[in-house]
């Protein structure tokens, strides 16, 4: 085989592999979209790809299952916990990025080790404390719990973004008479706005998808979207159409967000450890 032929074969093989990869990772999502549009009877006939699409499942979850209540809970909890974490976490991140002290890396490692904490273990004391405080099934307890992972995440992510900003800019600001806090507020924050946005989006995604705390600490009033899929399990079988419709609505925002922060995906997934 000549060189050109070899290259052509290689190209086709790679293309095929890409198609297989895309198919494998995309299929469950596409299947969910398809099921959400299928009339009830056709769901039990997987081979039937030609059907009259219906929005009945969506109507049903919004009108009968009041799914929008859970969306409201999810949005409020995610947003509030993200904003609080960004404020507290970014300030600490600035300390980590711009000062040097003996135990700095050990402290940073301690922050990272929060990520390793199993939620199922820590939720038990939270459950008891919430019970005694009468906070079970409230949104505020979820906001607090979600800060458990959002604050350390923000610290490590924003530390990386702050370190990317050249020190000279800061020194110039100081020469112009800015105090430390002013430098942070007037110079650093505006300059790291893309990083801040990406961090916020990751916090939102993680809070939106959180399941352990939501499942353990809420039951009716503060129920969030991920736990609401359990509603569609009943003795008469799962309401697959409704479940899929909820899934489509719930995953749409995170997928849009996820693709929007694609550039920072590796950084976000490794808690800022890899600046991909």
């Amino acid at each position: 085989m000549s060189r050109a032929q070899k290259r052509a074969v290689r190209k086709v093989v790679v293309l095929l592999l890409f198609l297989i990869i895309c198919f494998f990772f995309l299929a469950p999502y596409l299947w969910m979209v398809l099921i959400s549009l299928k009339p009830k009877v056709d769901i039990y006939d997987p081979g039937k790809l030609l059907f009259v699409p219906t929005l009945e499942n969506y109507r049903s979850i919004i009108e009968d299952a009041h799914i929008l209540e859970y969306f409201k809970n999810s949005m409020l909890v995610s947003a509030v916990s993200t904003v609080l974490s960004l404020v507290i976490g970014s300030i600490a991140a600035y300390g980590f990025a711009r000062f040097n002290w003996k135990d700095r890396e050990n402290m940073a490692f301690m922050v990272l080790s929060q990520r390793m904490l199993p939620a199922m273990a820590i939720v038990i004391p939270y459950f008891l404390m919430a019970m005694f405080a009468g906070w079970l099934d409230t949104r505020k307890i979820l906001v607090i719990c979600y800060m458990l992972f959002n604050v350390p995440f923000t610290i490590l992510m924003m530390r990386g973004f702050f370190e990317d900003i050249p020190l000279e800019i800061e020194e110039a600001g100081k020469i112009d008479g800015c105090s430390g806090w002013q430098v942070l507020k007037e110079l650093i924050i505006p300059l790291s706005l893309p990083g801040l946005t990406a961090t916020a989006i990751f916090c939102l995604i993680n809070s939106w998808n959180e399941f352990v705390f939501a499942n353990f600490l809420t039951s009716v009033k503060a129920k969030t979207v991920p736990t609401s899929v359990m509603l569609f399990l009943s003795v008469s079988g799962t309401k697959w159409g409704e479940m899929a419709a909820t899934g489509v609505l719930a995953s749409l925002p995170v997928i849009v967000f996820g693709i929007a922060v694609q550039k920072y995906m590796i950084r976000g997934l490794t808690f800022g450890a890899v600046k991909g």
Partner: protein, 294 residues
């Protein structure tokens, strides 16, 4: 005095609020968890009945009076090893493939890879449950079309494999993206030099790629082992720990003990402490190897 302290340690002004918050949010609950784990507390009891039982709950676990616990430890560790290994291998291969290729499909592949990562695990679990359904699932439908035998995916023999499959689906892209970043940032001159010296493909991989990617590989491995060790949402919706206890991972075992029906909070807390200790031991070992120069 406080003023002087902050003057001496200026970083404290910035990090103190976050550190204080994290101490309150994790240290106190952890201490509380230790305390609970040494009591016989059950849900719904008034506090007068609560007794300090020392290490009783732990002795119960270790002595085998709670056989479900050992099963949970065993399948959690098995799950951790299998999924991490599979995800590392497939993820690395995909990352390498993406890096070597100049195909115009690359942006599409990246976008597709992000979908499993960001998708809500409990929802993904439900979709897998539908797809793996023995009677009307699409997977068995495909198998039938290909004249292959149908598989009852969610019965006692296959449930564990199904959870593994779903986990591989969700987290291989994570390793793929990290490996992509790593492989693509490797300097090419080392390879050229080695090739001139007559190194073959395996040697190049073994002596150049692997050592330079070591920290990154370990990092991906740390995240994957820890996350698969504490997995909860995916099996919770896919199998509810069943059939029997074939997919009752540690997190699910804790949940079963602690939830409203059983309410054995004291015993669940002891389990939770064990889970914490296993995951911190695993992460310590891996971090040690990640930092060690070789």
């Amino acid at each position: 005095m406080i003023k002087r302290y902050f003057k001496k340690k200026p970083y404290m002004t910035y990090i103190a609020p976050a550190m204080a918050l994290m101490t309150v949010l994790t240290l106190f609950p952890t201490i509380f968890l230790w305390l609970i784990s040494m009591t016989n507390y059950q849900l719904g009891w008034d506090l007068g009945r609560v007794k300090f039982v020392g290490l009783d709950n732990y002795i119960r676990l270790v002595s085998g009076r709670d056989p479900d616990f050992w099963n949970a430890v065993y399948i959690s560790l098995k799950f951790m090893v299998i999924t991490t290994a599979a995800e590392m291998i497939f993820g690395f291969l995909i990352g390498k493939l993406l890096c070597d290729s100049e195909s115009r499909m690359k942006p599409i592949v990246f976008a597709v890879l992000i979908i499993p990562i960001v998708m809500t695990p409990s929802i993904a679990g439900n979709i897998w449950k539908l797809m793996l359904n023995a009677e009307y699932g699409i997977v068995n439908y495909f198998l039938a079309v290909l004249h292959l035998p149908r598989v009852t995916w969610l019965d006692a023999d296959m449930a564990f494999t199904s959870v593994v499959l779903a986990d591989i689906w969700q987290w291989t892209p994570f390793v793929a993206l990290i490996s992509y970043a790593g492989v693509c940032s490797l300097p090419t001159d080392q390879y050229e030099a080695a090739r001139i010296d007559g190194g073959n493909a395996f040697q190049l991989f073994r002596y150049i790629t692997l050592p330079s990617l070591r920290p990154l590989i370990f990092l991906a491995m740390i995240f994957r082992t820890i996350d698969s060790l504490k997995i909860y949402d995916m099996p919770f919706v896919l199998t509810q720990g069943g059939p029997g206890n074939s997919t009752e991972f540690l997190s699910l075992h804790i949940y079963r003990l602690a939830n409203a029906q059983n309410g054995l909070i004291g015993r669940a807390a002891a389990n939770a402490i064990i889970l914490m200790m296993i995951s911190s031991a695993v992460s310590k070992v891996l971090t040690y190897f990640q930092r060690k120069e070789m």
